[in-house]
Amino acid sequence: MNGAQDTLIVGIGNPLREDDGAGFAVASRLGPPALAVVQLTPELAEPISRASRVVFVDAHRGTPPGQVHWEPIGPAAPGALAFSHRVTPADLLAAATLLGGRTPAAWLVAIGGARFGWGEALSPAVEAAVAGLVERLRAPGEGKRCTTLR
């Protein structure tokens, strides 16, 4: 990665809530400068504004467990950006656009989850999906180490 970060990986999730922690696990295993966060916050707009591409990784209910779905996403409409109690990837892309003057290409990678109870272990299907995604994202140009943000 260059100094301005070609691709920024942002893994979202609660590692104490079983498969909800899938995104967090992906980013943690990649290591810096991938970001593992429990929730999206306005401060993330700044590193996102310096990236060429951003990949958000999160668990998803309703998708078959272990299935990985890539979806391109764009910034929220300027009028819809409020940054209140909930911050979405689209919000951050919009904020990054305002900060940096351009919108990085972005994807939301949804990993189907099976269990969202109390615990630190991923279900077998999600563990396999996380491992596979980490391998893919480790490929040259896809992201390297991780900074943990809790």
Binding site: V38, P42, E43, A45, E46, P78, G79, L81, A82, F83, S84, H85, R86, D91, A94, A95, L98, L99, T148, L149, R150
Partner: protein, 476 residues
């Protein structure tokens, strides 16, 4: 008896969830206004039966914005239960962590929660008057706020291992010494942060003239001020002695050991809020209203103790001959404390003992009662514990900054409502200003009701018979 009541529900851009009710009299004038905190946390009860050494970690989870404050106050109470004097290096490191928290919390309050009002004006439409609107109108201001908050959070993470709910501070000290590289990284980042603080102060002072009416009416009344000062009457956030000054700046209480807080303050409950109010015992309830936090601290001291902060403080104190009374000036005070925090962190990191490996005193419990007091970003924070012979908690009392300010917030709300609320409908400007006066205090409602509920702040209007006339609600 009030004839009509206006309700604001929810109040936006504050930490936690609350409701405002405004009660009108027969003539349509504002008779009363109340700030209702609608969430219950219950930490004082759920800690009972736990081993006391768990308390710092438990108490840090009262809040996601100021966990370090609870960590520090709780650890100090546990130090008292152990009856130990912690190593000097541990005290220095706890101070650094506490000041990093101060910087990031004040940055959150000023840049994320209040700058939309200050930059865009209190009459700007709500869909624009938010952090996104700041990003669009003044990207530099937004970027500065993000960077300043990131700095504070990064220091907390480097020291405590996590940005939110860090560990590291333990009964007896801290659990690891400071690494040289970490010290150097923090020091290297400070000059740029001071530039941000200076830039923001200059901007804030340039716009102040446009808020004359708000300065005049935002909880602008004589009151006492309470907080910690150091042994030279300077700004102090970790140790020190209690001081109380009145509106003229005259000292009412001085040099009181913080463990003797019950001699000067007591708590009261109202049926309409989960937030306990505190009052100055000598003046009774509710006349014993006082304020805490950045405005109070700068009214209490004779100096800050760092060069740039002292300059800014001197200019700030020119606002009035005695204490600075308008709560609008909490914003200014926060910025000055950010400057102080950054300068003081640098001073502490140059202390010859800051890298010492001696950072923890160990002991078994040697006392049944422990009190820990520190200045959180929002004001004085008190953790008071009692344990049994097995070290299990039997009683906890927490007095939180927002509780200290509860009476003042209510009176400030009444003042704003009387100036800006007219008739039986709540206009946008009035709604905005009711929220903004609360926001000036930077309340932390998760802390003060010891949960994020479903709703932020709302405003409701009732007549004297209790019939709802109007209600305003903003989605989070």
């Amino acid at each position: 008896m009030a004839r009509e009541t206006i309700v604001i529900d929810p109040v936006t851009r504050i930490e936690g969830h609350a409701k405002i009710t405004i009660h009108l009299d027969d003539a349509g004038g504002v008779q009363d206004a109340r700030f209702h905190v609608t969430q219950l946390r219950g930490f004082e009860k759920l800690c009972e039966g736990r081993p006391f050494h768990e308390l710092p970690s438990l108490m840090a989870r009262i809040c996601g914005i100021c966990p370090v404050s609870h960590l520090v106050a709780s650890a100090k109470a546990c130090d008292a239960l152990l009856a130990v004097r912690i190593p000097e290096t541990a005290a220095i490191l706890r101070r650094v962590l506490n000041l990093a928290q101060l910087v990031q919390s004040h940055a959150l309050s000023f840049f994320h929660l209040s700058s939309p009002d200050l930059l865009l004006g209190l009459d700007a439409p709500p869909e624009r008057r938010n952090l996104a609107g700041v990003l669009a109108a003044n990207p530099q201001l937004a970027r500065d706020g993000i960077r300043l908050r990131q700095f504070g959070q990064q220091v907390i993470e480097w020291l405590g291992g996590k940005r939110v709910h860090p560990g590291w501070v333990v009964p007896g000290g801290v659990n690891a010494p400071l690494a040289r590289e970490t010290r150097d990284r923090i020091l290297a980042a400070i000059p740029a942060m001071l530039d941000i603080a200076d830039r923001t102060l200059a901007w804030f002072k340039s716009i102040l003239e446009g808020f004359g009416e708000e300065v005049r009416t935002f909880a602008n009344f004589p009151s006492l001020f309470l907080g910690l000062v150091d042994d030279q009457g300077g700004l102090e956030h970790y140790d020190g002695r209690l001081r109380v000054v009145d509106a003229a700046g005259h000292v009412r209480v001085d040099g009181l050991a913080p463990e003797r807080y019950v001699e000067v303050i007591a708590e009261a409950r109202e049926s309409w809020s989960y937030l306990k109010s505190t009052y100055f015992v000598a003046d009774g309830y509710p006349e014993g209203l006082y304020r805490v936090g950045p405005l109070a601290r700068l009214n209490l001291v004779e100096r800050c103790g760092t060069p740039r902060a002292d300059q800014e403080w001197a200019e700030f104190r020119l606002l009035e001959r005695g204490a600075v009374l308008s709560s609008f000036h909490y914003h200014w005070a926060r910025l000055i404390e950010i400057v102080y925090g950054l300068e003081r962190i640098a001073q502490l990191l140059h202390h010859p003992e800051v890298l010492s490996p001696r950072v923890r005193a160990t002991a078994a419990p040697n006392a049944r009662e422990g009190i820990g007091v520190a200045e959180a970003p929002r004001g004085l924070l008190i953790h008071h514990y009692r344990i049994d012979d097995d070290g299990l908690v039997v009683w906890v009392n927490l007095i939180i900054a927002t509780g200290h300010n509860a009476l003042a917030m209510n009176r400030g709300l009444l003042q704003v409502a009387r100036r800006f609320v007219h008739g039986s409908r709540l206009g946008d400007g009035a709604l905005n200003r009711c929220e903004a006066v609360i926001r000036a205090f930077d309340p932390c409602l998760s802390c003060s009701t010891h949960a994020l509920g479903e709703m932020p702040l709302a405003v409701e209007l009732y007549d004297a018979r209790g019939t709802l006339l109007d209600a305003r609600r903003r989605e989070p």
